[in-house]
Subunit: 342 residues, 2 copies
Amino acid sequence: MAGGVGSRFWPMSTPECPKQFIDVLGVGKTLLQLTVDRFEGCIPKSNIWVVTSASYFDMVKGQLPFVADDHILLEPCMRNTAPCIAYVTWKIKSRYPDAVMAVTAADHLVIDTAEFKRVADKGLAFVAGNDRIMTLGMIPSRPETGYGYIKSNDVFVGEPLKVAEFKEKPDYETAVKYINEGKYYWNAGIFFWDVRTIEAALRANAADIAAVFDSLEQSLYTDREQEAVNAEFPTCRSISIDYAVMEKAPNVYVLPASFGWSDLGTWGSLHNQLDHDGQNNSSVGGNVKFVESSNCIVRMPEGKDVVIQGLDGYIVAESNGSLLICRLQDEQRIKEFSAKLK
Amino acid sequence: MAGGVGSRFWPMSTPECPKQFIDVLGVGKTLLQLTVDRFEGCIPKSNIWVVTSASYFDMVKGQLPFVADDHILLEPCMRNTAPCIAYVTWKIKSRYPDAVMAVTAADHLVIDTAEFKRVADKGLAFVAGNDRIMTLGMIPSRPETGYGYIKSNDVFVGEPLKVAEFKEKPDYETAVKYINEGKYYWNAGIFFWDVRTIEAALRANAADIAAVFDSLEQSLYTDREQEAVNAEFPTCRSISIDYAVMEKAPNVYVLPASFGWSDLGTWGSLHNQLDHDGQNNSSVGGNVKFVESSNCIVRMPEGKDVVIQGLDGYIVAESNGSLLICRLQDEQRIKEFSAKLK
């Protein structure tokens, strides 16, 4: 899933080039490329599918040249994850009815890719040929209020657990309670299922969305596909797969795991993932010198010389000819800040 | 005089392109061009002389194409204002022994150019054909500690006053005392004199420097001039015209004036000269939006989109691929900050 616009990472991320297409970490690969890489040895490259916005087709092809054109699905508009997953599910089921699927966002971070592969292999094996839906649950390292949680009443001994409940993003006190209880995992939005299972789950729990793709079935893999999708996809309601299916289906499992995951949803979460100097400053790109500064995250174009003096707790980010300086604590307002320039 | 390197205005000003060659105010002309413009109708353009560094010749020609090559004097190194003025004095006296001279820095600001012209005309008339040295004294508007002061014991009634004393940059209490006494004027470093007068004053008060240019006299206006200057100019001691001549000569006058002058010596002084929003923010260049910010000065390249949120009292300046963010109150340390990148 590579269709997001990454508005919370402005100006690094823009609607023209959102964060999944950017080398956010300064490691030489984009988040999309890193996402594909971490399935290496687990899923053949020829089995990679990308669902994205029509305007990002060229970037996907440029960054993943080995992905066939008909494996790049183009949404005419954003409708959250349920219609996105339904589209690729209907594509896959019509040609590969026995397929096992892994679903992930293209703009998240995984540090320990070996552990990720081990978990992904286990996940695929757990759902293959049966009627289980599996999601990965990150063993929480802190009372994070930026993630949803998954609760299981069972004890984790290395195997997937039956899900008891999905929980919205909690307030801080609730998050602390979750951590202390020990039965809660971060919902990372990484799913495993047999294509038959997710098709059935969509039919059972989101019949309206399933009906849209049933109506498109004759067009798939034809010259008429994009035109038909452009006409019908927008009629889907906008809803996440969590709301549409996961919270309703009876056969949902969570595999607790720990491989250094972040949704990189905010500058603060990126700041947490980067190396820091002694004053908790981090930077990506550029030649950045901190003087009497602390708790700052700086993202600059390559080759840019920067001196930052006397700042505590700020984002300083330049990209695409735009410069943002704002308090890290106010990063939830970045959309408002970027709108000032319009 | 256009030889300074403007290190206090980094990164806008760099040794490759110091502030006199920059449109610091965003008005469409560089400080050098504005300096020449303000003598229009007062001094013919063909009588303009520029003393600068050899490396700035092309910029001077580019910005003042009407200035003849032999009116652009190239210092091989910086030796402060006394050797600079001696050089142009010896050049002028050998061809134009009756000349009257006005001397000014090329990187200062004058707001009321009509009043400047009136004062300059008065100054030139006051010194022409006699043995007076005249300097302009800015009627102070505040107890500024960044300027030297000139004291006269006489009462200003519109005419030049005999100078009693030159004063170094004062501390704040002393500056307040000066303002209250009312006999003190800012030393703007703008001088008027007959070429014979300044030659004699240099011979009397800085004989070593006069001797250097006497030794060069045969080379002036020849193909050997630059080579000879390159060899001999560096042997001059580095000393200001104030120390070398003004404070010693007996015949020095000050003409109090008020035409909105600033030496633009610091980001703070530039900030004072620019238009401000309701929160005392000012910007030059770029498309700069301030959010919950105050007392900031921002200098950006044209066309750059910038949002600044949550800053109070900062310089944010980008130029030549370098970005500086620092506290305005720490601007005296800009040399230190720029050195971090070396």
